[in-house]
């Protein structure tokens, strides 16, 4: 999940520091300390009063009204033009498309007891496509991965997930590429579209599940639309960027030879931006995969389902096996799209002989057709054989291993959990959630102002008003507390590992591939080890969030520290600084904007994960969202929770982005 970092970095444009920066900086720190002190005093005096706590089963008028809206929307579905034709049309087209592909590849196609094309045919076709687009090595990877899905016992779910991801990515390309082209040609379009993309990326994925369900119902259509919304921005941004960065001289030269604007696009801009566009496609595909798994919560078909079920029944073994399938799929898609983009730059001059390549393609094509025929003719090639089954033994092994880990280290993890919970999480949560709401709101506004300046006042106040209006103030503060604690841990990890990696090439070489791999994993996967170690608690959700957010933060800190001018570092060393002094007095202060950016990304990643963690005991807003799907009458409250999450996310994003802008230049 690297998709947020490149675009967000750009938004944090540093503004020149005022001349009296130092003085005003000191005053700000003093004011900040004052605010915190006032907050603690207020909390101690007024603890538990007016903190707007709301029991899970209690609903406000707003929640009931939202529930009512849903009922009315559902009732109106057949006789409202917009709902019936537009939304209904899109919805049934998507449902139909996904269903068609499912019957083709994964689900029984009535009256056949098996899909039109059985597993052998599907594998052979996938290998053919992989070879054609990304070469022999990727073809092998695809073959192994696909067989692994079957052997682990999740053939149908895996193919379903691929279908949902594929349909969403396909639509992303149809929408995103023209939009990217348009943006690259018109500044006005860019100005209009960019904020929309910002919101799409800032909004925690959980938040828009509910409104979508309202219109599209639960099922494949909602799953595809959710995935689409989440996955579209990187493709649009990156392709627009790629097209814009085509060398102006080349454009001028080809214009001077009399190219029409269509010729420029087809012969110059698109070919030259091809590699970048495919990088965007890679990010979009990975985002789509992670969202498509989450869409299991709204009944999207695919691997998310078994993961959710296993997580909810705390079956670490099953969760691990289906999680492993997701990991394999992530690696497969990531490698395939990355290789395709690498090849794009050297496509026409591959070292492989074009004649050999054509021959192999022909052979593979024929083999694929034969395999398709076989899979339509013989049941054993149509239905993935249940024997050998690697999934069950693996699940058992994981279960006994995690049992052993808990027996052996259980005391240790419990002590760690207690330490963080009692020492950090509980007091902090109490401070946020038990202060009166008006005190809390005032404190947040004051902190936002002191950190990020007057420009964030309006967004902060509006977001807080929305949270207050949602009737879920107390839950939002609990979620905020978890997010902040998680982000704190992420930053500790980010600074320690980031500085280490920036200072040691060996450490970097060893750790970076691991971070890259972690970043490609869909968020669900992080819950599995966390739940194995810490059980279904709030703390587990925080740890999963830390795991999820740390790679981004570490990378940003590493790059920031490394970007510090080597001359300055040398000068510091020449002046006799110790390593510690160099780090604390030179490298970290000079990498300040990277630290703020890391915090920004950390906050957003942690927030989205903390919310997802509600699936297995995270509580607060996330729980309300999930509960909204699970119980019909809680829908209104779930929707309100989604809105509150969005408001929280936007507020945190605005504050950190503007803080970064303000402190960008030391």
């Amino acid at each position: 999940m690297t998709l947020l970092s490149p675009t967000r970095g750009r938004r944090a444009t540093p503004s020149p520091a005022p001349t009296d920066a130092q003085e005003s900086g000191q005053r700000r720190v003093l004011a900040l300390v004052g605010v915190l002190a006032a907050w603690v005093v207020g909390w101690a005096l007024l603890k538990g009063r007016q903190n707007l706590e709301l029991a899970v089963s209690t609903q406000t008028d707003l929640h009931r009204w939202l529930l009512d809206v849903r009922d009315r929307v559902e009732a109106a579905r057949t006789d409202n033009f917009f709902l019936d034709y537009v939304v209904g049309g899109v919805s049934s087209a998507l449902d139909g498309g996904v269903e068609f592909l499912q019957q083709l590849f994964s689900q029984p196609a009535f009256p056949r007891p098996v899909p039109e094309i059985g597993w052998l045919g599907v594998v052979a076709l996938a290998v053919f496509v992989a070879y054609a687009l990304a070469g022999a090595r990727i073809a092998v990877l695809v073959a192994v991965s696909m067989l692994a899905f079957g052997l682990l016992g999740y053939w149908e779910e895996s193919i379903d997930l691929l279908i949902v991801t594929g349909v969403a990515v396909g639509i992303c390309v149809l929408i995103g590429l023209p939009l990217g082209i348009w943006m690259s040609r018109s500044d006005r379009t860019t100005a209009v579209v960019t904020p929309v993309l910002d919101v799409m990326q800032t909004m925690p994925a959980f938040a828009y599940l509910a409104p979508l369900v309202l219109f599209f119902g639960i099922g494949p259509a909602s799953a595809v639309v959710t995935t689409l919304i989440y996955a579209l921005p990187p493709l649009v941004r990156i392709s627009a960027h790629g097209l814009r960065s085509v060398s102006p001289t080349t454009l001028e030269a080809t214009t001077s030879l009399g190219s029409t604007s269509r010729q420029l696009l087809a012969k110059v801009q698109l070919p030259m931006a091809r590699r970048t566009v495919i990088v965007g496609l890679n990010q979009t595909t990975m985002a789509a995969l992670s969202m498509a798994t989450i869409a299991a919560l709204i009944d999207g078909p695919g691997l998310g389902e078994p993961v959710v079920q296993a997580l909810q029944s705390l079956d670490v073994g099953d969760a691990s096996v289906s999680g492993l399938c997701i990991v394999i799929m992530a690696i497969m898609l990531d490698r395939a799209t990355t290789t395709a983009s690498d090849r794009a730059s050297v496509a026409a001059r591959t070292r492989e002989n074009p004649r050999v390549r054509r021959a192999v393609l022909a052979v593979l094509g024929v083999l694929a057709l034969v395999a398709v025929w076989l899979s339509r003719t013989y049941t054993r090639f149509a239905e993935f054989p249940e024997d050998p089954d690697l999934g069950q033994p693996l699940a058992d092994a994981v279960n006994s291993f995690s049992g052993w880990v808990i027996d052996t280290f259980g005391g240790l993890t419990a002590r760690f959990t207690d330490l963080i919970s009692n020492g950090l999480l509980n007091p902090f949560e109490s401070l946020l959630a038990e202060s009166p709401w008006w005190l809390m709101a005032a404190v947040l506004v004051a902190i936002a102002y002191l950190l990020a300046g007057p420009r964030v006042l309006a967004p902060t106040v509006i977001c807080l008003a929305i949270i207050l209006g949602s009737g879920l103030w107390n839950d939002a503060m609990k979620t905020l507390a978890m997010t902040l604690v998680g982000t704190l841990l992420v930053m500790v990890l980010g600074v320690v590992v980031g500085v280490w990696m920036a200072r040691s090439r060996t450490a970097d070489a060893a750790i970076r591939p691991l971070l890259d791999a972690l970043q490609t994993l869909p968020p669900f996967v992080y819950l599995i080890p966390a739940i194995a170690l810490f059980g279904p608690t709030r703390f587990m959700a925080i740890m999963a969030a830390v795991l999820y957010a740390a790679p981004v933060a570490i990378k940003i800190v590493t790059d920031g520290v490394r970007a510090v001018s080597p001359t300055t570092v040398e000068a510091a060393q020449a002046a006799g600084s110790s390593s510690w002094q160099t780090i604390t007095k030179v490298q970290l202060p000079m990498a300040r904007s990277a630290l703020v950016l890391a915090a920004n990304q950390g906050l957003l990643f942690v927030l989205s994960m903390v919310v997802i963690g509600a699936l297995v005991g995270g509580g607060a807003l996330g729980f309300l969202v999930i509960n909204g799907f699970a119980q019909g009458e809680a829908f209104g409250k779930g929707l309100a929770a989604g809105v509150a999450i969005t408001a929280l996310g936007v507020m945190l994003d605005r504050i950190t982005v503007h803080t970064a802008a303000r402190h960008g230049r030391a």
Binding site: T249, L251, E252, A253, T254, S256, L257, G258, T260, P271
Partner: protein
């Protein structure tokens, strides 16, 4: 001059808001920073006029920021001029429709760029054929023509390479071949060799001179390098802050600089290589012998030096049977000694 290949009349290019209000006002003569402060505009080309004869190599020279690159882009409206006329073969480029302009670019005028502007995803041959391709010429024909051009610029054997596999000099040869392939009547060069090493630059200059002899195109050549301008140009236009400072043959510019700016520019030029007898001759003194050999007035001093020094009598400078003046040893030595002084 109605028979000019290219004719520019009162050309202006002003960047900024409502640019046409500047034209012809005293504001246009303000220094750049003041104009910007006052109007928010920058005048890149100010009232420039010139004619280029068919087959001529016309060099526009100036320092960076003098407006020469903008000027050359205005000729085919890669940058839209603010005012004035550009006539190519008698037709006003500024009046052309989009389609007619494209036609002009495809068949009449082609350009070579400082940073080459090649397509990295295409082989050399397809880069060279690009202009023919957008014109709609079939693959076979355009490849045949492109191959001819590749051979002409000395890149035979590299057709199937990609631009990034070639050196800078070779890449610019591709740019040259691409411009030649459309068989234009006018070729524009925008500092084509500035990005190259000095030795390669010299080769490429020789290449342009050779090509000019072979294909005889009209050329407009932009450079900031005076030596290059003197070497290539039949005539030179010197620009400063967007305005024309002097226009003339190399000898004229060196021998009779229009102002201190140009004088400063040409001060360390090897004068004897540039100045012609026309600029060193004098009227014969009363009673001076007119028995010396005849030489044409456009011969450069260096070439004439030996003949003059070998001759007992002053050399007669004669054009079309008319005696223009005489040159003796002292006149020649004055040029050469002055040059030594400059070098020291």
């Amino acid at each position: 001059m109605s028979d000019a290949a290219l004719s520019v009349r009162d050309l202006w290019k002003v960047f900024g808001p409502r640019p046409d209000r500047i034209i012809g006002t005293p504001d246009a003569d303000l220094p750049r920073a003041e104009l910007l402060a006052k109007t928010g505009c920058t005048a890149a080309v100010k009232d420039v006029s010139f004619d280029v004869a068919p087959g001529e190599v016309f060099v526009v020279m100036g320092l960076s920021g003098s407006g020469k690159s903008t000027l050359v882009r205005c000729l085919t409206r890669l940058i839209e001029p603010t005012a004035g006329e550009v006539l190519i073969d008698g037709e006003d480029v500024r009046q052309m429709s989009e389609g007619r302009l494209r036609e002009l670019r495809r068949t009449h005028v082609s350009m070579v760029f400082q940073h080459f502007g090649l397509l990295p995803h295409r082989k050399v041959i397809d880069n060279v054929a690009y202009g023919l391709e957008v014109r709609g010429i079939g693959k076979k024909d355009r490849h045949a023509k492109a191959q001819e051009m590749v051979d002409l610029v000395g890149l035979s054997g590299n057709e199937a390479s990609y631009p990034d596999q070639l050196s800078g000099g070779m890449q610019q040869r591709v740019g040259l071949a691409r411009a030649l392939a459309v068989d234009p009547s006018v070729m524009l060069f925008d500092e084509p060799f500035s990005a190259l090493d000095p030795l390669i630059r010299r080769d490429m200059q020789a290449e342009v001179i050779r090509l000019h002899h072979e294909v005889g195109k009209t050329m407009v050549f932009i450079t900031h390098d005076l030596a290059e301008a003197l070497k290539l140009g039949d005539r030179i236009l010197i620009m400063r802050d967007g305005a024309l400072v002097q226009m003339g043959t190399p000898a004229e510019v060196v021998a009779a600089p229009a102002d201190d700016y140009v004088r400063d520019f040409v001060s360390d030029v090897p004068r004897s290589h540039v100045i012609t007898l026309r600029y060193v001759m004098r009227d014969p003194r009363p009673g001076e012998s007119l028995d010396g050999p005849q030489l044409p007035p456009d011969m450069v001093v260096q070439e004439a030096a030996r003949r003059v020094l070998d001759s007992e009598h002053a050399v007669r400078v004669v054009e079309a049977e008319t005696l223009l003046g005489v040159v003796d040893d002292v006149d020649i030595l004055r040029v050469i000694v002055a040059e030594e002084g400059v070098r020291a």
